[in-house]
Amino acid sequence: MTSTMLNACMRFIALFTAALLMTLTLSGCWNRRELNDMAVAIAIGIDRVDEQYEVTIQTVDPSQMSNNRNVDRFPTRIYSEKASTIFEALRKVTSKSSRKIYLAHLLLLLFNEEMARDGIKEPLDFLFRDHEVRPDFNIAVTRGYQTKDVLSIVTPLEVLSALDLYRSLNVSQKLWAPTAAVNINEMMVMLTNDGVEPILTGLTLIGDLNKGLSADNVKQPRPYLYFKFKGIGVFRKDRLVGWLNEPDSKSFSYVNNHVSSTVGSVQCPGSKKRFAIELVKSKVSREPSIRNGSPHMKLIVHVSGNVGEVQCETEINDKSIIELQELASEQLKSIIENSIQHVQSQYGVDIYGFGANFHQKYPKQWRQWRTNWNEQFAQMSIEVQMDYHLRLIGKIISPFGNNPQQKKE
C-alpha cells in the first residue's frame, strides 16, 4: 500500500517539475522581441552623400495607428543617419530612438539618382544578408530629390506615406503601365542572370518642397506637394544609365507582359480628333530565331480592348470599328517598334531580357554572344506582329450627341 502511495507521490512530483520546467522554456527564447521595443520600419531610403550612405527610415508610431489617436502627433517618424555601411547606419539610429528598428515589414526601398548611378549592388547586399528582411518589398529611384525628402512628405490618402507610395506604385503598374513595380526578388534575378539588364521605376515630387513636409500639405484638397511615379530607369549591370520617356516605358511594360490594363488614345480616321481605347488583355509572346547568323526577335502582340471614348465624327458600326481597330493596331505597333529602337540605339542594354530567350533556345550560339550580348542586342532586328481586337463599345453606340435615327432619314 505505502509503496504504491509513494509511487503516485513521486509521479506527481516528477510531472509537476516537468510542467514547471516547460513553462520556463516555453515562455520565450533569447531572441524574444516585445512589440513595444520595436520600431517597425516600412520604408528605407538610401542616399549617396559624400562617399557615405545616408540611410533614412520611415517607422510607424504604433500608438498613432489606433482609432483614438492624437491628431497633433504624426503617425510616422523619420530617422536619418550617415555611415559607411547600411547596417551601421541602421544601428546608429538607436541613439536617436528608444526602439530598435525592425525590418520584416519593409514595403519600399528608395535610392536617390546619384546612388543608382553609382551602383546599387553594394547597398543591396545588406538587405539580402539580413535575416529580418523579407524579399517582398518594392524598389524605386527618386528623380531630382533625395530619398530623405520623398520619405518625409505628408501624403493625403494613407496616414503612412510609404504605404501610399507602395500602393500607388502597384496600382499604377496594373492600371496605367508606364511604371514597373520591381520587387527585390525580381531585382536579384535581373542582376544575377545573363541576358537581362535591370530596370527600376522613377519617383519624383511635384510642388513646393518646404510646404509639403508639414501637415498643412493634407489640410486642403490640392496638396502643395505630391509624388509621382515617372518613367522607367535603365540599368547597365547595377548602374543607372538613363530614363525612358512615358511611351517607351509603357511599351516596355507591354513587351514584358506587365500590363493588365491601360488606356491609350488614337487619332480618328480623317480628322485630328482622337478616340480612347481601354486595353483589357495584353500578352506579348516572343519567337527568337537566327537570321544570317545573327539574332532576330519576333514579337507577337495579342491585345484585346474596348472603345472607351470617341471624339470622332464617324458612326460606330461593324465597318468603322474595323477601321478603328486597324488604326489602333498600327499605332501600338509603331510605339513598340520605336521604343525598342530607342533602347537599342540610345542605351544598348537588353532590359527586355531577349538574351535569356536566346539562351534558352540557342544555347550553342549563346556561348559566342553572351560576352558581348548588349552589342548584339543593339544591332538585333525586331519584328512586331499584331493580333489586335476591339470588342466592346460601352453603353452608347454612336458618339454622344449624334442621333443615328436622324442620319438614316
Binding site: 527564447c29 533569447w30 526578388n185 535569356a356
Partner: protein, 368 residues
C-alpha cells in the same frame, strides 16, 4: 514478438525523413552551383545511380541474415580487425555526421530565425529529444516517424505547391547546356549525401520484424525522398532562377519567404523550419542509435542505453568545435562526397567480396 522491432512501413518513413534531413534546405543551392538550371536532372540521375548501386547493400543485408552488423563484420574480418574497423568506422562516419548535422541545425536557426540565441541552446534542446528517443528504442522512433511523416508531406505540399503560380519553367531551359559532366557532378553530391548513408541502415536490419523487408524499405524511402527532392529543386529553381539559387545558403527557406498572395497568404516560411526540425530529429536519432548500438557491441557492453547520454554529450561539445564558420561548412561540403565514398562504397564492397570469398571457400560450411 510483434511489439518489438520496426515494421517495414515505419522503417520506410524513418529512412525517408532521414534522407530529407539536412539536404532539404541546402540541396537546391549546391545542386544549382554545379548543374545550374539542370539541377533537377541531377536528382533524377542520382536516383538511377542509386538503383544501380543498391544491390551492393541489399546483398550485404542478405548475407547478414539475422546477425547484427557488428557480428557480421567480426565474422568477416575476425574479432580484432573487425572490432577496430567498427570503432573507426563509427567515429569517422556516423558520429562525425552527427556533429555536422547538429551544427547545420544551429547554423540555420541562428542565421535565419533567432540570431541572438546561442547555438548551445539549439543543440541542447534537440539533443534532449534525441536522447529520449534513442533510449526508448527503435520501436518508439519508428512509430513517431509514422505519425510525423504525413505532417512533413503536408508541410512540403503547403509550402512548395503554393509556389506553382509564380513558377517560370523557362528558368529550367536550356537543358543539358554544359553537357553531361556538371549534372553528374551534382548527382555525386546528392548520392553521397544522403543516399549512400544507407550503409547505416544496415545496423537496423536485426531490428526489422521481417529482415527480408529491409530492401523494400530502402528502395521505397529512396524513391519517396527522391520525388520530394525533385519537387523542391524544380520549384526553387523555377521560382528564383539558377543564378539566385546558387548564391543562397538556404534557398528552400528563402523561396517560401517570397510567397505573397493578396497580402494575406504570406509569411509562413516558418513551416520550413518545422519541416527541418522534424527531419533533423530522425536524422540525429538514427545516427545516434547506430553509434550507440555499434559501439556497445564493439566494446562488449550489454546495456547499450548506458552509452546514449555520454555520446550525446560528446556530440554536444564536438558540434561546437567541429567547424569554425559557415564558409568552412561550404568548403567541407565540396569534399564530403569523396570522403563518404570510403565508408559507404569501398567498405561495403570489401565486405561483399570477403563474403563471396568465404562462401566460395566453405561451400559445405555454415550456410549464409
Amino acid at each position: 514478438m510483434n511489439k518489438t522491432g520496426i515494421t517495414q512501413r515505419q522503417a520506410t518513413m524513418w529512412f525517408t525523413l532521414y534522407q530529407l534531413g539536412s539536404a532539404l534546405l541546402i540541396l537546391p543551392s549546391s545542386l544549382a552551383a554545379y548543374s545550374k538550371q539542370n539541377a533537377w536532372l541531377s536528382v533524377l540521375l542520382t536516383m538511377i545511380l542509386f538503383i544501380v548501386l543498391s544491390p551492393l547493400f541489399i546483398t550485404i543485408a542478405k548475407q547478414m541474415g539475422d546477425r547484427s552488423f557488428h557480428n557480421y563484420l567480426t565474422g568477416m574480418m575476425g574479432n580484432v580487425i573487425g572490432k577496430t574497423v567498427m570503432v573507426l568506422f563509427l567515429i569517422a562516419f556516423p558520429f562525425l555526421t552527427f556533429w555536422l548535422v547538429l551544427k547545420d541545425l544551429s547554423n540555420f536557426v541562428t542565421t535565419s530565425i533567432f540570431p541572438e540565441t546561442p547555438p548551445e541552446a539549439v543543440h541542447a534542446l534537440i539533443l534532449i529529444a534525441v536522447v529520449i528517443g534513442v533510449r526508448a528504442g527503435v520501436t518508439v522512433i519508428g512509430r513517431s516517424a509514422e505519425l510525423l511523416f504525413f505532417i512533413v508531406i503536408l508541410l512540403v505540399a503547403i509550402g512548395f505547391l503554393s509556389l506553382l503560380p509564380v513558377l517560370r519553367f523557362d528558368y529550367l531551359l536550356p537543358m543539358l547546356e554544359g553537357g553531361f559532366k556538371p549534372i553528374f557532378h551534382g548527382s555525386i553530391l546528392l548520392l553521397a549525401y544522403p543516399y549512400l548513408e544507407c550503409v547505416l541502415y544496415l545496423f537496423l536490419v536485426p531490428d526489422f520484424q521481417d529482415a527480408s523487408k529491409w530492401k523494400l524499405s530502402l528502395m521505397k524511402s529512396t524513391l519517396t525522398s527522391g520525388m520530394i527532392f525533385l519537387i523542391i529543386t524544380v520549384t526553387v529553381v523555377a521560382a528564383l532562377s539558377e543564378g539566385v539559387t546558387a548564391n543562397l545558403v538556404y534557398p528552400s527557406y528563402f523561396v517560401i519567404r517570397t510567397i505573397s498572395y493578396a497580402d494575406i497568404y504570406q509569411r509562413f516560411e516558418i513551416v520550413v523550419a518545422i519541416l527541418w526540425y522534424i527531419t533533423i530529429f530522425f536524422r540525429l536519432a538514427l545516427l545516434l542509435h547506430v553509434v550507440t548500438r555499434g559501439l556497445a557491441d564493439a566494446i562488449n557492453i550489454k546495456n547499450a542505453n548506458k552509452l546514449v547520454i555520454p555520446l550525446a554529450l560528446i556530440g554536444f561539445v564536438m558540434a561546437k568545435e567541429v567547424l569554425p564558420n559557415v564558409p568552412s561548412v561550404i568548403t567541407a561540403f565540396e569534399v564530403w562526397p569523396y570522403y563518404v565514398f570510403v565508408f559507404s562504397l569501398i567498405l561495403p564492397a570489401i565486405l561483399l567480396m570477403l563474403g563471396w570469398m568465404r562462401r566460395a571457400r566453405g561451400r559445405n560450411g555454415t550456410p549464409t
